[in-house]
Amino acid sequence: MKAFGYVAAKDVGHAVALLGEHGARAKVLAGGTDLLVELKFAAHGLKIVVDISRLAELKGISIIDEGLRIGALATHADIMRSPIIGDMFPALADAAHSIGAVQTRNLGTLGGNLITCVPSMDSGPTLMALDAQVTYADGRGHSQVPLAELFVAPRKTSLGPDGLLTAIIIPKANFAKPAAFQKFGLRKGQALALVNAAAAFWVDQDKNSFVQPRIALGAVAPTVIRAPRAEAFLEGKAITDEVMAEAGRIAATEAKPISDFRASAGYRRDLIAVLTKRALQSAYARASNKVRESVP
């Protein structure tokens, strides 16, 4: 790697100040699993790496008034091990588990995965399907926006050069909302997603129908996207395999997958339909289990 400077930030304010000072010539080091690869291959022109990996205020997974707060420095391993997440949002743990391998999950952070902002990110779809918000700090103070606003284009977020992602928040209204994540890659491990998909919905117990369905797709557009027409189709409909399959077909038309050396656009569209259906089925199975569990 080419030479660069290194500072271990003392706190969020210190990190933001350094980022403000050096702008595009500073980069944030959280887990380092994406950053170091980038630095090894790109002519980076980097002046300084700002190591935030020790900042306690960015760690932790806890319930706050607003909802569930996942610190930006929560690693994928932390998410997999969290009892709160295991109980309320097992789909998040599934998504974390699908990333890389043990070694990368021990270092890689949720914040880092979101900020690297590649269309195929595995952490994005489930969070989007759960209406997640993100908080960040910059020279102007602290702000909070819906997750979708963070993603602008491949490898480009809405954060300015001095912006630092601090936490991800899932609203209280969505606690334990049945959700599922599906990923298809060319290998079972250490694989990029050709397509990934997440689905979340409540079940109207009386009518057995979809309530507030959400579908999010990754790797099939410049950023992670929702599938609003598929969602509108599902709202209020009876939950059947046929309806779920149809939602998958609609979702496939809402995406803009590319053809590349891994797969053709047509293959990806097929995958969208299948993975969406499976995510819906899997979320429904979780919803049913919860009902069974609560029945004495």
């Binding site: 080091l29 043990v102 021990n106 270092l107």
Partner: protein, 168 residues
């Protein structure tokens, strides 16, 4: 240059290195611990796997500064003068080491697995080894070695005298 202090295999080591130095380079060149290997330098092959504060990590993806103040275990820290670590013995006995280049990484990944789970099933083992690529063995012998080593370690733990009982 940055100064780093790291406890490596129980010993406090210090170095003054350029900030862009990875933990892998620090271990191999500054501390002469060449057990961890450079296979791909991008965290795909796992040949550089060491244990940092109890977690298996790719040392090629960690900066020396990130490791500052932490505790690192490498392959050189497993065996004692008196005996091989059961994982090393099991890998040897089961033919899980051919060219040996992926060995230290896979063995450390296994150690990290056992530190968390003393009775892993095959799925757990596959998951723990999924970051250790091997071009020689086809992995079957490795999985058998890990199962063997787990058995031996559980038996050793069970055989330890029950201190609480004795002190009553």
């Amino acid at each position: 240059m940055i100064d780093v202090t790291i406890v490596v295999n129980g010993e406090t080591r210090r170095a003054s290195v350029p900030p862009e130095t990875t933990l892998l380079k620090l271990l191999r060149e500054n501390f002469s611990l060449t057990g961890a290997k450079l296979g791909c330098d991008v965290g795909d092959c796992g040949a550089c796997t060491v244990i940092v504060d109890g977690m298996a990590v790719n040392s090629c993806l960690m900066l020396a500064g990130q490791a500052n103040g932490r505790s690192v275990t490498t392959i050189e820290g497993l065996a004692t003068r008196d005996r091989l670590h059961p994982i090393q013995k099991a890998f040897e006995d089961n033919g899980a080491l051919q060219c040996g280049f992926c060995g230290p990484g896979a063995i450390m990944a296994t150690k990290a697995l056992f530190d968390e789970n003393s009775d892993p099933n095959v799925k757990d083992i596959r998951d723990a080894l999924s970051g250790s690529l091997c071009r020689c063995t086809g992995y079957t012998k490795m999985i058998e070695a890990v199962q063997d080593a787990a058995r031996i370690l559980r038996a050793e733990a069970a055989a330890k005298p029950r201190q609480l009982e004795l002190s009553k």
